[in-house]
């Protein structure tokens, strides 16, 4: 490990804003995409299920 302390790690030699701005936005968008894909899948399953039960009635 090449960091003396956590504060040094977050500071990133003065580039903290740029490095963590890049990593943070990437992490945020990946998590948003995963969440969005999950919601879309559950909604589509619910749609298919409701149409199936309407047909059966």
């Amino acid at each position: 490990m090449r960091w003396e302390s956590w504060s040094e790690f977050w500071y990133m030699g003065g580039y903290g804003l740029y490095v963590w701005g890049s990593m943070g936005m990437t992490a945020l968008l990946l998590l948003l995409e995963i969440w969005q894909a999950r919601v879309a899948h559950l909604n589509t399953l619910a749609l298919a299920r409701s149409e199936l039960f309407m047909e059966q009635e």
Partner: protein, 249 residues
Amino acid sequence: MTMRWFYYAAPQTFYGLAGRLWPWLAALALALTLAGLWVGFGLAPSDAQQGEGYRIIFVHVPVSWMSMIIYLAMAFWSVLGLTFNTRLSGMMTRALAPTGAMFAFLSLWTGALWGKPMWGTWWVWDARLTSELILFFLYLGYMALVSAIDDVRRADRAGALIAIVGAINVPIIYFSVKWWNTLHQGASVSLTRSPSMAQLMLWGMLLMALAMWAYTLAMVCYRVRTLIIERERHTDWVQALPEVAGAKA
């Protein structure tokens, strides 16, 4: 062999295959991300010229690669779709687009955050940056077009044309740093010469690139299943799925 490919190209069989694949790919993506972050942020030395700021490349280079590769994959599926008229092709192209758009945006975002401290500017109208911006707009254009046409098969064919014609932009992005005098630096990794970076930096970048590959494949497998259910929900096989019909015998 050809029979086998067409067998898996049927939405019904691909739904099952993708369902078995995505959890493994997701786990692989997570493991590779953790390894890549450990190498990139824990082990790799600081750069002689750029200090710690260079660490942005551990995400910038992989997302930029993926933004180009995903567009080429969309063009590939589009050619198959127009040639063989397979149902799956259009769904694969659509499943890829949001992830590709996200990576293109991240390429621009992380590039801007690198440009500000290193070049003194968030943005320049340089060949590399401009062609990547066009790629981002091509993704948005594709998604807007396919969602604007109600008939899905017609939408798929129109989208396929954008995907194929737009693919010409990908080699332009890739070779822009050679063809024009750009502010953007040349490739750090090339097939023809040894990489111009330290071993650990290279490993960090390659692990992150593999992680993004696994993430993309997992996401496509996941999302294509949503599209398959949406389009085939009136068929017997979808209505017989336990996740649709409920857990009845």
